[in-house]
């Protein structure tokens, strides 16, 4: 074989490689998924506690996360007050027993550490947002205004703060959401039952939501136990459902709390199966953890769930078992 032919062939290969390499690179880049995205490992860490041990919150306890400081807030409507825990799960503060904050249903925290309480007055017939400093001292009372017709019986039970000073208020049982600015002015509403093509009667016939969450992009997540489904609703009102009923892995018994982490993983608690199901951002079931029991890492009727920095997953539960903290490794 002549050197020239070899050189010509080699040159051809080189030329083809020069063209193919960037294409191959682009293809790899386009379809590459880091292995850890699907290799989620979850392990139990500890329960939220004070110096005397695990704090036994009631079955109705709600969770909120301060992602900037890594603190978790536990609101217990049955027993009252809000308890704050640091990144190691130790109680560092409690507030909410003062009457000016009324009865606190839920809380949210902004980037500066301001606390927003979803509060009801003494007779619990009116709600307001309590704008508080980091100690839970009331700075101002925000009244929500501009709610449209159809929201006359709006009774939110959840509050979420997302970027840009936007506050989401959710009435899970009526499946209504009001988005308000920092002054309380309503800037957008969602009648989620309409988004999901439910009639009001279907909602009244017990298809109300149980779990509710809003991510930083304004995507709304909710669960409807009677339908064995969870939903993701984008800000423009597009809905997609996921999950199915059953008692095997990946199935919903009684779907309850829902949360999403920074990697797009969606966590759904199952009160009946006593575990937390994990779905990826494409809504495919990936893994689950917990299971009924009294040992470390087991859960008794898990309810609310939030995710925090460092891969931490907080799960509230019944049975005076407190809030269990898990760690996700990708």
């Amino acid at each position: 074989m002549e050197d020239g032919a070899v050189g010509e062939k080699a040159g051809g290969i080189k030329k083809r490689f020069t063209v193919a390499a960037p294409i191959l690179f682009l293809l790899l880049t386009a379809f590459y998924r880091p292995a850890q995205a699907y290799g989620l490992q979850v392990s139990y860490q500890y329960n939220l506690a004070d110096f005397s041990g695990t704090i036994p919150f009631s079955y109705g306890a709600k969770l909120a996360i301060d992602k900037d400081r890594g603190e978790v807030y536990v609101t217990d409507p049955l027993r009252g007050g809000v308890t704050i825990f640091n990144t190691t799960g130790m109680k560092v503060y409690r507030f909410g027993d003062a009457s000016d904050l009324g009865y606190i249903e839920d809380v949210a925290v902004d980037k500066k550490g301001h606390i927003y309480t979803l509060s009801y007055n003494g007779s619990r017939d009116r709600f307001f947002i309590g704008f508080c400093d980091y100690r839970g001292d009331l700075l101002s009372r925000i009244e929500v205004s501009g709610l449209p017709a159809g929201f006359s019986h709006f009774r939110p039970s959840r509050i979420f703060y997302i970027k840009g000073g936007i506050i989401y208020l959710a009435d899970d049982s009526q499946m209504l959401v009001a988005v308000v600015d920092h002054t309380g002015k309503c800037i957008r509403t969602y009648q989620l039952y309409k988004v999901l093509n439910f009639t009001p009667k279907m909602v009244m016939d017990d298809n109300g939501a149980f779990g509710f969450a809003v991510d930083s992009d304004g995507d709304i997540f909710l669960t409807i136990p009677t339908l064995f489904r969870a939903y993701r609703i984008t800000p423009d009102g597009k809905a997609v459902s996921f999950g199915r009923g059953g008692s095997g892995p990946g199935r919903f018994g009684v779907a309850a709390g829902i949360a999403v982490d920074g990697n797009g993983f969606i966590y759904v608690t199952d009160r009946l199966r006593c575990c937390v199901l994990v779905f990826d951002k494409d809504l495919n079931f990936r893994t689950e953890f917990g299971y009924r029991g009294y040992g470390p890492g087991s859960l008794i009727v898990p309810s609310d769930v939030v995710t925090g920095p460092g891969g931490r997953i907080y799960v509230s539960q019944a049975g005076n078992r407190g809030v269990s903290v898990f760690s996700a490794v990708y």
């Binding site: 999901l196 298809n207 009160r271 009946l272 575990c275 009294y294 040992g295 019944a318």
Partner: protein, 424 residues
């Protein structure tokens, strides 16, 4: 192109239908539900035990009957404890306005001052049937350790009190298949006719004759390790007759929605007497000298009492008429042969209507002592204990099912006993 667009729209619509169709899942369907909803067959899930603790040795034993809860009531509350939906009977704020009442009140011990300088405590366990549901913090009644008014029935221990003490979770009617009954085809709670070849279930899956709570006769013939277990304890009266609205959020509320309620037919008191035999008094004339308020199918109101009920609107107002006299806070039985309707506003007739246990009590729990429908210790019920409590973490007007007593009946409304007795 147009055809393609139409096809695309059709496919999108079809996708939406499949994506979002599906009615509320009627888990029980009037009878026994699917087994794995409540039981774990092999007690194994994800390689670990799904069910531990319970009536055996907590933490080491499986739950009795392989239940998916620590105990029977916890198993029920897995699905039935939240707020909002009508199937929830234990909320987090007293807002489950179901006819039976909200077990939330068992968790609420509160104080109030009926008069200056006097502080009274209303204990949570005195607000209802203290079912044991360990997962939800409901424990055995420490005062009434056995049922009051046992009469000729045996002793029922408070430590065994659970949802399945009154409800047959398997939904059998009169002994079910084992007793030759037809299949249960639909719920017996809504007044619908049975499907051909089937029978309806009992109202609210309430137990009836042959029922033994927990069915030890079937599953555990010799439960010698369980102290006080009622081996021989059997129901002697069938489930009562009643119809209810499918949507409890409308039940007993205000305004036009308030016409929706549970309409009681017959057998309530007799059924309660499965446990509380000593409280049943079918001799409404009182000639037996039992000195108890009449209750039962034969405890008919009579024309005088029925007339009072129909006239009475509120304290100081007896301008009512029978067509609109029904007050959900003071229900009555319409009688064995009456046509029942959950939207009927009519008051009682003087012949068939009768007083029952639920005329004054909630079956599950209420905001008040002795699980009464109104506070029997307040002169004016606008000053009811749960309305003037030192702290009221419950939903607005929840003690009276959303009724604003002052707005609807006035500040000087007296006891609702007056609905029948007009002594105010």
């Amino acid at each position: 192109m147009k055809a393609a667009k139409i096809a695309l729209i059709f496919m999108a619509a079809a996708a939406l239908v499949f994506a979002f169709s599906g009615a509320a899942f009627a888990f029980h369907d009037g009878g026994v539900a699917y087994c794995e909803g409540c039981h774990t067959m092999h007690n194994s899930l994800g390689g670990v035990s799904n069910s531990v603790g319970g009536w055996g040795t907590p933490g080491t034993d499986h739950n009795q009957y392989l239940l998916k809860g620590t105990d029977p009531s916890s198993t029920c509350l897995n699905c039935h404890s939240h707020k909002g939906a009508s199937y929830n009977i234990m909320s987090t704020d007293g807002s489950s306005y179901t006819p039976g009442g909200d077990f939330y009140w068992l968790t609420q011990t509160y104080t109030y001052s009926p008069w200056a300088g006097n502080t009274v405590t209303s204990r949570g366990q005195n607000h209802g049937h203290s079912i044991v549901a360990a997962d939800f913090g409901l424990s055995t009644d420490t005062t009434l350790t056995v049922q009051p008014g046992a009469g000729t029935q045996g002793t029922y221990y408070a430590s065994n009190l659970a949802c399945n003490s009154c409800h047959n979770p398997h939904g059998r009617v009169n002994g079910g298949t084992r007793n030759g009954q037809k299949p249960v085809g639909a719920s017996g709670s809504y007044g619908t006719a049975p499907i051909t070849g089937t029978i309806n279930g009992n109202y609210r899956l309430l137990a009836d004759t042959y029922y033994q709570p927990g069915d030890p006769s079937i599953y555990d013939p010799a439960p010698s390790g369980i102290a006080g277990y009622p081996q021989a304890w059997t129901y002697i009266a069938n489930a009562p007759v009643a119809v209810t609205a499918k949507t409890f959020r409308e039940v007993e509320g205000l305004g036009t929605a308030g016409i929706s309620h549970t309409d009681y037919g017959s057998g309530i008191a007799e059924w309660c007497a499965n446990c509380h035999q000593g409280f049943l008094n079918n001799d409404a004339t009182g000639t037996t000298g039992t000195h108890r308020h009449p209750a039962g199918d034969s405890a008919t109101l009579g024309s005088t009492i029925a007339g009072f009920y129909n006239e009475y609107v509120s304290t100081g107002n007896i301008t009512g008429a029978s067509a609109n006299a029904y007050l959900p806070l003071v229900p009555f039985e319409r009688g064995k042969s009456a046509t029942l309707s959950s939207t009927s506003t009519a008051g009682p007739d003087g012949t068939n209507a009768a007083v029952m246990c639920l005329s004054c009590h909630r079956a599950h729990a209420s905001a008040f002592d002795e699980m009464t429908r109104w506070d029997t210790t307040a002169d004016f019920i606008s000053g009811s204990s749960a309305l003037v409590a030192t702290a009221k973490p419950w939903a607005a007007n929840a003690p009276y099912y959303g009724w604003d007593i002052v707005a609807n009946m006035g500040s000087y409304q007296r006891q609702l006993c007056n609905k029948c007795h007009i002594q105010d």
